[in-house]
Each structure stands twice: as C-alpha cells, then as structure tokens.
C-alpha cells in the first residue's frame, strides 16, 4: 500500500463474539450505512466467516463495560436478556480460595462507598475481625450473597441501583450481534473459507482469497479467527508468548447443567470455587448453569479434575445432573502474541491471546481493543504504523496487568494442600511487578495513584477487594496524616450510610430470577 492510501475498508476474519463485537463497535463509531456527507465517505466493514468452523458456545461473563458497548451500538437490553439467555452479574464470589474450607468473599463491580474521595480501607482495618471488607464498604456484597438483582423492573435499560455486567450464552450473543450488525449497522457478511492470503510488495495483506466469495480486498484486516490466529499467527508468524510460568492453568473441562426446577435461583455473581489444582466456575444463565473446571495439567490428571467437577455438580445441583452431564475438554496455552498489530493486520480476541477466565477478561479485552481501533482508526497507511505501535504498547501493558491481578488471587492463599498451591507461591512464579506491589501494600493500602494509567483495567478498588477479601494485612501508619484524620472523622458516617443503603437495597431488589422473568414478560423501559 502507498503511504497516503486512505483506510476506507476494514475486513474482519471470524464470526464469533470477538468478530461481531469488533464489527459492531467500529460501526457504531464509523457510519457504514451509506450516509455519506459532502465528500466524506463511509468506512466499509466486511466480516468474513467460515461456514464450517463452529463458534465456541460456552457461557460467558462480561464486565459492566458491556452495558455502554451495547448501548452505543443501539442494541436493546431487553432483546439481550430475552435472546441471549442472559442474566445479571454483579461480580465474582470466591469460595475456598483462602483456606480451602468454607471461606468466601466477593469482588463486586461497584467500588467502595465514596471511593472517589475517601479511602475506607485503613479505617476498616480497625474492624477487620468484626466485618468483612466488602460488606463494610459496599452494598453490593450483600446483594451478591443473596442472589438479588442489581435493579428493578421499573429501572430503565442499562441503568442500575448496583453496577452490573452479564452472564450470557456466547453463541446466542454472537447471533444477536450478527443480526444487529447486518440489519442495522450496514456490515457486509460473507460466508466463505479463507484459502490464501495475498500480500503486496511491502508485506501488507492486500486481499484474502476465499473458496466461494473470490478475493476480498481491504485496507485494514482484523484477525478474529480464534486461537489459530489465521492472519497474525499463521500468516505473519508473530511469536506466541506463553505465560504459564505465572499462571499454571492450561486445561478446562466445561459442562452445561440444567436447573433441577425451572424456577431455581439464578446466582447474580460468577461463583469461583478453588480446587486442589485449579478452580471451578459456575455461571447461572436463566435456563441452565455453565459449570467448568479449569486446572493445571502439570499438577493433576484429567480424571482427577473430572472427578472434582462431578463432585461439585453433585453437591450444588444434584447427583442426577452429575451422572448425566457431558463434559467437553478445551486445552489452551496461557499467554498472548508478542504483538497484536502488525503491518495492516490487528488481532482481537483469542487470536491475540487467552488466559484462564478467573476475572472474565476475554470479552472486555475485545471491547477495549475494538474501541481503540474505532477511536484511533488511522487516516492513512502511513499513520497506521504509529497507531499500531501505540496499540501494541497499550495491550502488552494490559496483558501484564491482567496476569498480575490474576496471580494475586493465588499468592494470597493460605492453601498448602497440594503442589499446585505451593508452586503458586514460589518466588519464580510471581511477576516482579506484582511482588513489588505486595511489598508496597504491606505498608499502605492500594489507592488511586498506585496504578500507572488512567484507563487501567483493574483499578485500585479491585486490588482492595481481593487483598482484604483474602485476609491480607496492611500495617497501619505510624505517622499522623491529615488525610487519615479527615477519613477517620468521615468513616463512621460512611460506614453507616453504606449499611443503610444495603438494608434499603436488600428490601427493594427482586431476585435475579424474578427480574429476568419480568423482563421476559414486560421488557425494560428505555427511559
């Protein structure tokens, strides 16, 4: 391509959630509807999908960011709930992570009360033996433990009393996005297999050669082809960086389990229960639960992992469900590509990398990647290299932070019941950046300026929830600080406000199931 070649045409390869989300997010910013104004032209977006590759249809969790992502695309929340078997998720509830016993704590989506101005963590330390951190500072903790919804039927679409994301059926979600992208956002959908990649002299991708749709030319190619990374991996041979030295889990056993009764409660958090060599996810959709065991194949066998999964299903659903469920095995290499944007090709989704779903980082990374592509869409080929460089720097940083945050869950555990937990606290398995933070937090609690970037994926509040939920202790300050004195006088009032708000929400929020049923019957209002 010539340096002044305009970027008018985007070709996305792959039609899973990554492909359609990327298409929708870019189209929501760049009109693709043929509504050219004056001499400005539309960006053309084409999504080419193999008719032969099935999408992976496991239940998935999103972050709260999905609300605004969908709203910007113009998707109705009522449609999402009805068509994607979706329910409300308010965070993660961790069981057995601390000691392997009956310990439980939450990482709610809502930051601690008054978090913008007051750090309640040092104040809470004085009462750490009387009240759990998340319970003292957040009203969402109680909603999560009781399976209550984050809003009411009279709350408008995407508005909330407590912040939330979704649990949804990824296959149905991709289908809803596809329909919306094609019918409303003017995206061209082609079903064909890519059989060759045609390059220009400078090494850029010029076009894709397909079996049934001929050559598909474009200015920018987005690789959403999944873990095989057709363009970035197979074609450009960008190396893969394994991160298994930090995060050991590399295998998942996934199952779908129906409810015993169709009106059984739907959990309003992802349940994460630690096992001897991994952990079990439990995601409640309206019609079924998605339950799976993600573990380290170096530390346990498939049989052993399967036994633990079935024991969990037996204990939390029924013996019958455990004896009839079918289990699907997915092996993965935890890690990411050495870079994500190379020449005129950028990878989004599993083609960029994959890591255990401990904090449901997969879909939010797709949203963040697509949003940056949409916002920074290069005007021409020349500036694309600059945008690519910045994109790579940002997302390598993000992968490192995800790894730090996931690893944090393991190193705070007191579990010693298997080599898995022992190996997880070996110094060689802990990224230096995380070790440094832990040393820092022994003396001061996480706070706004700890984090490097303004658009950090895991803000200091998330670190507070996990650290103090896991029982980590920060020494109290030995010198007098003005800000502490102010917080000290404000703290009692803030804790009381939080308790009052909690009581109010507990009394007024429906259960997750009740709200989903009402949305199915009446729908949510737009205002």
């Amino acid at each position: 391509m010539t340096p002044d070649q305009k970027i008018n045409s985007i070709v996305i390869v792959g039609g899973g959630t990554a492909g359609w989300l990327t298409a929708g997010i870019i189209a929501a910013e760049h009109s693709a509807n043929g509504t050219a104004i004056n001499d400005l032209v539309d960006v053309q977006i084409t999504l080419v999908e193999s008719p032969d590759v099935p999408t992976i249809g496991v239940g998935e969790g999103t972050w709260p960011s999905m609300k605004s992502t969908l709203q910007k695309m113009g998707i109705s929340e009522t449609d999402l709930i009805r068509e994607c078997d979706a329910s409300f998720k308010q965070g993660t509830l961790f069981n057995g992570w601390k000691t392997g016993g009956n310990d439980a704590y939450t990482h709610p989506f809502t930051p601690p009360h008054s978090y913008a101005s007051t750090n309640l963590a040092p104040q809470w330390q004085k009462f750490r033996n009387e009240v759990a951190f998340a319970d003292a500072v957040s009203s969402q903790n109680a909603l999560m433990f009781q399976g209550l919804a984050p809003k009411q039927i009279s709350t408008p679409e995407y508005a909330f009393n407590a912040n939330y994301g979704y649990h949804l059926d990824a296959g149905k979600f991709a289908e809803l996005l596809r329909k919306h992208c094609v019918d409303k956002l003017g995206i061209t959908h082609l079903k064909a297999n890519v059989i060759a990649i045609n390059s220009s002299a400078d090494g850029d991708i010029e076009s894709l050669q397909t079996d049934t749709e001929g050559h598909i030319a474009g200015d920018l190619f987005v690789d959403c082809s999944g873990s095989k990374a057709l363009l970035l991996g197979e074609h450009f041979e960008i190396p893969f960086c394994s991160r298994s030295q930090f995060l050991f889990n590399d295998t998942a056993l996934a199952s779908q389990v129906p409810y015993t009764n169709s009106d059984d409660p739907i959990a309003s958090s992802t349940l994460s229960t630690a096992q001897t060599s991994g952990w079990i996810w439990d995601i409640g959709l309206p019609t079924r639960r998605g339950i799976g065991h993600v573990y380290s194949s170096a530390h346990t066998t498939e049989d052993r992992a399967s036994e633990e999964l079935l024991a969990y299903i037996k204990a939390t659903v029924s013996a019958e469900a455990a004896s009839t469920t079918s289990i699907r095995k997915v092996a993965f290499n935890p890690g990411h590509r050495a870079k994500f944007w190379h020449k005129n090709c950028v990878a989004v989704g599993m083609s960029a990398g994959f890591i255990e779903p401990l904090e449901a980082s997969a879909l939010v990374l797709v949203e963040l990647s697509a949003a940056m592509i949409a916002e920074q869409l290069p005007a021409n080929r020349q500036v694309m290299d600059l945008v690519a460089k910045r994109f790579n720097t940002k997302f390598l940083y993000r992968w490192d932070r995800i790894i730090d945050f996931l690893k944090l869950h393991y190193i705070l555990s007191q579990r010693q019941d298997s080599d898995y937990w022992k190996d997880n606290i070996a110094a060689s398995s802990i990224p230096e950046s995380l070790s440094e933070l832990i040393d820092l937090w022994r003396w001061q609690s996480p706070w706004h300026r700890d984090t490097g970037h303004i658009d950090e994926m895991f803000p200091s509040a998330s670190f507070q929830y996990v650290l103090y939920g896991m029982g980590f202790e920060t020494q109290s300050s030995t010198t007098v600080r003005r800000s502490d004195r102010e917080a000290d006088s404000a703290a009692a009032g803030l804790f009381r406000e939080n308790a009052e708000r909690t009581q109010k929400l507990l009394a007024s929020m429906p259960t997750n199931r009740e709200l989903i049923d009402k949305i199915t019957t009446y729908g949510l209002q737009k205002i």
Binding site: Q152, I153, S154, T155, K518, T521, Y522, G523, L524, Q525, K526, I527
Partner: protein
C-alpha cells in the same frame, strides 16, 4: 390487605358502601391511575403525569393529588374538595377482574369483584347494592358502568403509552418544589410529555395521533401542568 370475591346478589344482598371520602377509608393517596377518556375532567383539577407500575415497569398516566407519599391535598374535613374524582378512586371497593370465557377459547370476560376487607363495606350505612328483590341499585349500576369504562381505559392506556414511547414522546421529569417555609420537596419517578419532540413531529404522525384519539389527550396532559401551582399552594396553606 385486600380480599376480593366475586359479587353476587345473594351473599351480598345486605351490603352497603360508604361513599364518604376520608383518610380512614384509604383516600390519602398521592396519585391514581387515570385514562384519556376522563382527561378532560381530570385536567381541570389535577396535574396529569406518567409513572411506572412497580410490578411491571409499564407506564400509565396518573392524576397527582399530593407532593409526597400518602398525601392527598384535596382531602379536607368535609371530604374530597374537587369537582371531579378520578374513576380509579371512585371505583372502591369494587374491582374489575377477568374470568376465562367459556364461550371463546382463550377468551377472558370481565367480572365484578368486591373487596370484603374494605372499610367502606358494612350493612347499616351508605349506599345499598341490591334492592329487596335482588336487583342492582342505581349506585351499583353506576359503579359497574364505571368499571367497564376502566376496563376499556386500561386497553386504551396500553395503546396510548406504546404510541408515546414509540415516538419518544415521554421524558423523565423531576419537580423541585420550594415551599413558603423554605423546605424543599423533590418529586421523582414521574414522566411527562416531551414537548420539544411533540413540536418536531411530522404531519403524518400528527394525523395518526389524531386519528387514534391520542392527540387531544396529549395536549390535555400538557395543559394539566397548570394545575401544579394550585397544588403547591394547597400545600403551602398547610404551613402554620
């Protein structure tokens, strides 16, 4: 709590209904559902806004009687001080219910129920329901025709609200009322006609609204806002 049973002229032949308006009979309500068919009368006394049913989240038009929960500023020692009382208030202790219609598969027919726990009900005071030979009295006949009007009103409201939403003609609305003693009341959870959107409508949409009988209702709801000031004055009059 309510205890609705189907009305019949043998079990209920001696019942009477007290029609006096007072707090002891549950008239101390802040607002009540209203219907376009009575907007002409309602707007002469009360502001008309829209609110959401807490069970379904569905919008319905409501006549406003007070500025806070359980406050009805029209209720005085001498009863309800207004020229018109909305049907949903007057209907008590009756309710229109629905029974499976044996004549039509899947059909429902409206039936009259009475709330046996309503304090208006007794057998000595007020309006009798049935004459000695078991026929409905004029009072009961009027009540039944009102229930029928309410039944049609519900249907009409559904279409009315759907059309308003479809054309983005409703908007949220927060009313800050500063009383004479400086205290502030904030009314939230109410919606009103989006007048800017109304003025931007195309001719075809106006014609459609007019044809369905909604246009007049829309403008009467807008006009009813002038009843807010007298409502606030009533509240101010209560300040000693």
């Amino acid at each position: 709590m309510s205890n609705y049973v189907l009305l019949n002229n043998s079990a209920h032949k001696d019942l009477r209904v007290i029609t006096t308006r007072s707090e002891s009979y549950g008239d101390n309500v802040m607002h009540a559902m209203t219907f376009p068919i009575e907007f002409r009368d309602v707007q002469s006394s009360y502001p008309i806004f829209f609110c959401k049913d807490s069970e379904s989240g569905q919008f319905y038009p409501a006549a406003l009687f007070g500025l806070e929960q359980n406050q009805n500023l029209f209720l005085t020692e001498g009863g309800w001080d207004a020229s018109y009382i909305p049907m949903m208030i007057k209907r008590h202790p009756f309710l229109i219910g629905y029974q499976t219609d044996p004549e039509h598969v899947g059909g429902k027919k409206p039936v009259v129920s009475i709330d046996m726990d309503n304090p208006r009900i007794n057998d000595s005071e007020g309006e009798p329901l049935f004459s000695d030979n078991g026929e409905a009295t004029d009072y009961l006949k009027e009540s039944i025709s009102m229930l029928e009007a309410i039944h049609h009103g519900h249907e009409h409201n559904k279409g009315f609200v759907e059309t308003l939403l479809e054309h983005d003609l409703l908007e949220a609305f927060t009313l800050e009322v500063v009383l004479n003693d400086g205290s502030k009341n904030q009314l939230t959870g109410f919606y009103t006609i989006a007048e800017q959107k109304l003025h931007e409508l195309e001719g075809d949409t106006f014609a459609m609204l007019n044809k369905r009988g909604y246009l007049q209702a829309i403008f009467m709801a807008v006009a009813s806002h002038s009843r807010l000031r007298p409502l606030v004055e009533k509240r101010n009059a209560l300040i000693l």
